[in-house]
Symmetry: C2
Subunit: 226 residues, 2 copies
Amino acid sequence: MDKVYHKEAFDRASEKYRIAVLTAGINEFSELGLEKANINVIAKKAGVSVGLLYKYFDTKEDYFFTCVEEAMRTLEDIIEGVVNSNDKILVRAEKLIRAIQATSGADSKYVKLYNEITKVSEIEGAAELAKKVEGISATTYNEFILAAQKNGDIRSDCDCAMFAFFFDTLLMTLQFSYTCDYYRERLKLFCGEDIFDNDERMVSELLKFLEAAFTFEHADVKKFGK
Amino acid sequence: MDKVYHKEAFDRASEKYRIAVLTAGINEFSELGLEKANINVIAKKAGVSVGLLYKYFDTKEDYFFTCVEEAMRTLEDIIEGVVNSNDKILVRAEKLIRAIQATSGADSKYVKLYNEITKVSEIEGAAELAKKVEGISATTYNEFILAAQKNGDIRSDCDCAMFAFFFDTLLMTLQFSYTCDYYRERLKLFCGEDIFDNDERMVSELLKFLEAAFTFEHADVKKFGK
DNA sequence: TTAGTTATAGTGAGCAATCGCTCACGGAAT
DNA sequence: ATTCCGTGAGCGATTGCTCACTATAACTAA
């Protein structure tokens, strides 16, 4: 069911070549995007011939998608490794925010690639990618919020799927805001240049925002004294 | 101060040509993006020669940016025309959400172009664009939330700039989620196919989320996590 | 009026450069 | 003998942009 973007030869490739090809691809595609990146240049940087790349992948797009998959796996490891406890939602949120802030450094290329797939405008490809990339967080968040609701940890009057969507929206955009050019500038406009030197400000304010959104219940449904 | 992306000849151009050139550009760039759009094709669709386009703009990029500016002006008119009252924040939010849902139809090309600028990865250009595009909402939201805070309409313990940022993040992503391929698929994953047929669900849940986030004030100043 | 000058509007064939991809080939392993 | 790994020069197609050209209009001088 899950689409595979590489040819069989890529499965048979030596570890050395597989890593070289993926690394060079991730670097170039994350920096330049699918269109602007140049296959001939990537091949040179990977230390392989163009011909070999085309033994591994049918098209540039397939190569790109394979790199995206790899990057998303890595990103998930980084992010979810931090959150795989059964903490309460706000503790998880805090860990996520801090993990996001941490990935804005050396691992920024993975986030940039994540941002790149956002640009795929071809409904079929977009659907396939979204399923792969967001599918995990969609179901994870949804189940988790549902459980928290049953637990009484969060308000009972909310549509969990929608709240999971808002939650993911804030975190996804936060990721971009720490990493991708336009989103960084946008964040600076709202919060000033020094927002990048003050991680605690972001953590505490976003948690304040989320806590209220998730726990407050309107007066007439009652939930006081906490 | 504000950068101008067109040559003087474009100011002198006849209404007929100016509109034709902007319309064709907005259509093509919003559909295909800066890279994939083809100048020769746009020229044909606009009913002018390529040569004339280059009398109007130095480069394809300048042409693109000019189209973006025009689209953003239109988008602002649509969106802010709805909100230029002095309603309370939640009323404004509701109007905004409904306006966003309404623009997902015929005016989707403007939103798509908005999404395109998100992809500009060249810090200088990104900064210039962000200032133009987000600058208005950044200051508007910030001032408005600050005023609401002084009024006592919203919680007193929040950082207005940050909350304005979260607010804008949710609305901006909502806009993309109703219009751009990847974001549409993502929204479907979280909330199901029928989310696009149930505008009220989005309105009521997002308002619920925002109301709580903005009005709830925590009993003590306790920090979360550990 | 008329002829000459200048400036701008508008054209579109085609140049020059880029780049995705091929394919004929050599080498190695089985 | 067959199969697969690996090469890289270069083909073919695309495309941003140029430039030599015509058309038109305004102004000037005789």
